[in-house]
Amino acid sequence: MNYKMIKGGRMKKQVLMNLVLALMISGLVFTVSCAKKQVVSEPVVAIEDTTDADAAARAAALEKQRAMEEEMLRQKALKEASLSEAARAQKAAALERFVDQNVQFDFDSSELTPMARAILKEKALWLGENSGVRIIIEGHCDERGTLEYNLALGERRAAAAQKYLIDLGIFQSRMSTISYGEERPLDPAHNAAAWAKNRRAQFVIK
């Protein structure tokens, strides 16, 4: 039984080899025939014999056509330009919004509020549309609380924002974080409104 199997295997191999050989030969023949065909179908340039009047009329027609085409192109370009202008303005506005809109936090907290999540979702969309952009997420605190603790808290705020963006599919490699604690307030006033503004994660384009 063993012997038969080996023999069978050998036979199969033989058939396969023959097949490959046949294919190769036919392929070769096909290529050769193709080459021939190309030579045959080489275009022949016709030399036309024309009068001057014919040529002038033809030139005028051509000129008209060209002018029409140019006008059409110009109209198209104008339309496109105004379109991209709007797109560009929209893009700039989106960028501005991305950079200006901070994620706010409660006092002594690095937890994301529902509002913070909504803002981060919008930021994730923007980052999705602008895949080449790399960002720095800064964590900040208000002046209440102590310096060293706030440096740590600021880092946790930046990290919380970053983690949420990762969960929304933004690659970590596009983001870095830094904490400034209470060193860089947006509003230097000493009141509740200023403190609320200053407790934030802020987004900077690299």
Binding site: R144, A152, E155
Partner: protein, 463 residues
């Protein structure tokens, strides 16, 4: 008898130490002060059982001290002026202690500057009658810029010379010479050398930046020691006063710089993430700091060169602001492990951790007393930021500041008699000082910009 012998031996040892220190100082050529300590008389060796002042006593009565005008000894042209200047320095320094009250010269009966400053020339009854418990006299000699100050400290009640010292130096050394004798007065009263030879490090704004400054103990003669043109924070002295560790954003990230103050060299701790809140281990070239390169803020022990020895804390969440017990065996720190920032004490040998603060929802910035028994810290309650003190066993909680701006960054004087801190009570942040019981709260100095994070060096020139 045995105790007297012991005391005598201690005195001998101390004198040896003084000598040794002077030799060292001269060898290092750090200071140009040439100090000749001459023992005036033998009274100082008379050692009765001495009861020291308890500077942590909440209702401490200040010791009344008389400081009559200093006497010009050789009628040199500058002696009167120098004498007045030296007396001012002494009076200000004694007032600074919080446990000495210099008596008003208007009440003095004798004019010792005219009459004479030695024991034989003083009528001590004239000093006891005005309530003076100590009497300081000084003679001034000056020639060609060389100054000699001959100080004597008397106990008018026993009519005894407590301490006599002669200091020799240049005009620029005047403050240091006077402050050394202030150290002697403090030592007589409290058994400790006081704060006079300490330096004060602090942070000040310079334009938009924050830089580290160093001044004398009382804020005199501040000089800028960092020029990073960046945010520099949290200065921390090594025990020997030679190294200053601090956090700076100079490289873009909050890193710890370990700066040698006498040579142009230093080390850097710049792991990924935070490198903040450095605190030296007492008497060791190692420090603890919060790092976050493992994506969680934990406290690590590092060498002075910035190499990690080991991680000290192990809890998810913020762990920050280490402060060591004087023996270096325990560490107070801030942790949010229970949901709010609270102060904990970790036994570094056993690894056990116990929560210290339970009152209030925000307690941070601990500073362990050099005496070892207390921790001062910052607490936020009722919208106020104040300084509190608590025993390391969790008893004896006291609020030290109240209704006077935001009060932060408490730090002890090396003799544990004073606490320096920053406060916004006068508008912008400035540096303040109070006694260890919250008394005599006053601003140390006025300077352009805002000042925060004051810390005194150990300063041990006298011993």
């Amino acid at each position: 008898m045995i105790s007297v012998l012991d005391s005598l031996l201690q005195v001998c040892n101390r004198n040896l130490m003084v000598k040794e220190r002077q030799m060292k100082g001269r060898a290092l050529l750090i200071f140009f002060l040439v100090l000749g300590v001459v023992l005036l008389g033998r009274a100082h060796t008379v050692l009765a059982q001495h009861v020291y002042l308890n500077i942590n006593e909440p209702f401490l009565r200040k010791v009344p001290v008389a400081v009559p005008g200093f006497k010009s000894l050789t009628q040199g042209v500058n002696e009167d002026r120098l004498g007045k200047e030296a007396r001012n320095i002494l009076v200000n320094a004694l007032d600074f202690t919080g446990y000495i009250a210099v008596l008003d010269p208007m009440s003095y009966i004798e004019n010792l500057a005219k009459k004479g400053i030695t024991r034989a020339e003083i009528n001590f009854k004239n000093w006891t009658v005005i309530g003076s418990e100590l009497l300081v006299t000084c003679g001034v000699e000056e020639s060609n810029g060389d100054i000699q100050l001959k100080f004597r400290l008397f106990d008018p009640f026993t009519e005894r010379l407590v301490k006599g010292k002669v200091y020799t130096g240049k005009i620029d050394d005047l403050r240091r010479m006077v402050h050394r004798f202030c150290g002697e007065i403090s030592f007589h009263l409290t058994g400790k050398w006081g704060v006079f030879s300490s330096s004060l490090a602090f942070v000040s704004t310079v334009g938009k930046d924050k830089e580290i400054f160093i001044s004398e103990f009382d804020g005199y003669n501040p000089r800028q020691v960092t020029r990073h043109n960046s945010i520099s924070l949290s200065p921390a002295w090594s025990s020997d006063g030679k190294w200053l560790a601090y956090t700076s954003y100079a490289g873009g990230n909050p890193d710890i710089y370990i700066k040698n103050l006498y040579q142009i060299r230093g080390n850097l701790i710049n792991f990924k993430g935070l490198n903040i809140s450095p605190a030296w281990v007492p008497d060791s070239f190692s420090l603890a700091a919060t790092l976050s390169f493992e994506n969680d803020q934990e406290i690590y022990l590092l060498t002075g060169k910035g190499k990690i020895i080991k991680r000290l804390t192990d809890s998810w969440g913020i762990d920050v602001s280490p402060s060591f017990s004087p023996d270096g065996k325990k560490m107070a720190f801030v942790s949010k492990r229970a949901g709010t920032p609270q102060i904990y004490i970790q036994d570094l040998d056993r690894g056990t951790v116990a929560r210290l603060t339970f009152t209030g929802g925000y307690n941070t910035s601990p500073a362990w007393s050099p005496e070892g028994d207390k921790v001062v810290y910052v607490g936020i309650a009722n919208g106020e930021i104040n300084i509190y003190m608590i025993g390391i066993d969790g008893t004896g909680l006291v609020q030290l500041t109240s209704k006077a701006g935001d009060n932060e960054d408490p730090s002890w004087s090396p003799d544990a008699s004073l606490i320096t801190f920053s406060s916004t009570r006068e508008g912008g942040a400035g540096i303040f000082v109070m006694t260890a019981t919250g008394g005599d709260q006053r601003r140390l100095f006025s300077m352009k910009g805002a000042q925060t994070s004051p810390v005194w060096s150990t300063g041990n020139e006298n011993n």
